[in-house]
Symmetry: C2
Subunit: 338 residues, 2 copies
């Protein structure tokens, strides 16, 4: 396997040390604990480093120190706005504390997720954030054995692997069902994916609807990975309506799907909400702008990322006190569409 990269002359700490007339140890300290080095020598070191365009090799540093200042995260797909909000929050919080983000997409495939996480673990990552729960036993064992602080997100389950931040998908969807029924809609539909979170939402939704005396809702399940949530929302609405012409309201597993459903209604000449009510999930910015504005469930997608970062860094930096399980809750945002 030829190494084609142009072999560039990269300076090492030793070169900087020599140039600044100090030892390697001092250079190392100047970078990692600046205040433990005489200001004058420190500045001299920095000056030489700058002059040589010296870049510290964090790979060697990680090996020696046993930590990398990298936190890894796995999301199903990045093009789904709800996950990119979480990653945005996570990345922002990490960056502000000097950590970096290693990111992977699982495309909703367990095998991919497994391989990804294993590779991450080998990077001496300081933390791991996953979307949903890790169910595979072997993988759980590996993660636990590694001792890497891990946060499962977007779900609340009884047995966290380590830490957990999210909300109850079932409860949130049940609240949606009750909201719709409370508004007088009885013929209900659901549009969502096939993943665990959508599954929980579907169960919460249909059970609550039935418990409230409504006829059993219909479901349209999007095959993952979907080409696009908006497109899938439109398809879902049309399919559901074909099967059940008296459909009166649909609850969608996220706001992009809901937007697609609203557009489909407009195209079909079905007034929203007078002929068809549409409710979303996740409260993305687009919801408030849509005409009519989207009734939805607020779930703090970004906050999930921020909290996950905080939990991990607190653990890494030896602070304690944070709960291992954080329920961020949810709330119904009633707007015009349902």
């Amino acid at each position: 396997m030829p190494q084609a990269r142009i072999k560039a002359k990269n300076y090492k700490m030793e070169d900087v040390a020599r140039a600044a007339n100090v030892s390697i140890s001092t250079v190392s300290r100047a970078f990692s604990q600046p205040d433990r080095v005489d200001p004058e020598t420190r500045e001299a070191i920095f000056a030489e480093a700058r002059r040589l365009n010296y870049v510290r090799d964090l790979t060697a540093g990680s090996l020696a120190a046993g930590r990398s200042r990298i936190v890894a995260a796995v999301v199903p797909v990045l093009t789904n706005a709800i996950f990119s909000e979480t990653i945005d929050g996570l990345g922002h919080e990490l960056a502000s504390r000097g950590y970096q983000l290693l990111l992977g997409q699982s495309w909703y495939r367990d095998g991919d997720e497994h391989a990804l996480i294993e590779a991450f673990l080998g990077r001496k990552i300081d933390g791991l954030v996953v979307t949903g729960q890790i169910r595979d036993r072997a993988l759980r064992a590996k993660i636990k054995q590694s001792g890497v602080p891990t946060v499962e997100t977007w779900e609340m389950a009884d047995k966290p692997l380590d830490m957990m931040v999210g909300f109850s998908n079932e409860a949130a969807a049940a609240a949606a069902a009750r909201y719709l029924i409370g508004r007088g809609y009885r013929e209900l539909g659901f549009i969502g994916g096939m993943d665990q979170r959508s599954q929980s939402r579907w169960e919460g939704f249909s059970q609550a609807a039935i418990a409230a005396g409504a006829p059993p809702p219909s479901a349209y399940r999007i095959h993952s990975p979907a080409p696009s949530s908006v497109v899938a929302g439109g398809e879902g609405l049309r399919t559901l309506l074909a099967e059940r012409p008296n459909l009166r309201a649909v609850f969608c597993s996220n706001d992009m799907i809901a937007s697609g459903a609203v557009f489909a209604c407009q195209r079909l000449g079905l007034a929203v909400p007078n002929k068809m009510a549409v409710m979303g999930f996740s409260n993305l910015p687009i919801g408030a702008e849509l005409v009519p504005p989207l009734t939805t469930i607020q779930v703090s997608a970004r906050e999930i990322g921020v909290c996950a970062a905080k939990m991990i860094l607190d653990r890494v930096e030896g602070r304690t006190g944070r709960p291992a399980k954080l329920d961020l809750g949810f709330s119904v945002i009633a707007r015009g569409s349902a």
Copy 2:
């Protein structure tokens, strides 16, 4: 600084080697070049590794091998759908070839970008993908000196740092102006950000409009980072209209902004396109679903990521022949909104 992480017993290659009665070298080979190891010994090694939940330390591997199988990318923000498409494509292509993605957000701030890239360089990354051009001289020097294959994306400039894939923002925006004028609109507006790409689009757009004999267009500039493109699009439309009541068409710097503008029109009772034409940029899935469907400029956001990955991996793996500069072009997609 206490290391709070629970010190887990992590096995090393040595442990696996001992358990499988072979040398460390053989274990290493079993993982990196499986076909150079006797199938029987190989399986024995894997069995022991599995039994111990052994995870290979890629950090040590990177140090020894001088390469990391990591490619780093920097985007302004991830919550902007056009960049998450690029990252999706990049990540997909990298994963399929066994590489991982280290991701950073610059939030449109040069300082953040600089720090980020420097840290990346220290990871012995095998490639670097940046959004837009690197302008800072010191940073360019460091990148060049590192010898890391680098791709600048989303722009076409004369002096690539190394490789480049994108399209001409100026030419694309000029095409938009000509399209709108060709449809008979003369009072034009522009809604876009303050970054370099939006700036190029604004220049291309206004110059082409003027060259075609239209009155000088008005611009609404969104302060970066914007809270949300959709919201900004609505604000832009209202602001522009207040300043210029006879405004007849707006060209938006991306499709989410354009969607926001369309919603604002609906709210104002301005029929699209009969009273106000709206044109987008980037051809996101939402555009085709919107009512009316969005006229836009297609620019292969995802393809940019895929190509960037290919360029880097070809270089890393010693293949050649790919051009250092790839113009993916653009095309006008005429739909109902303009």
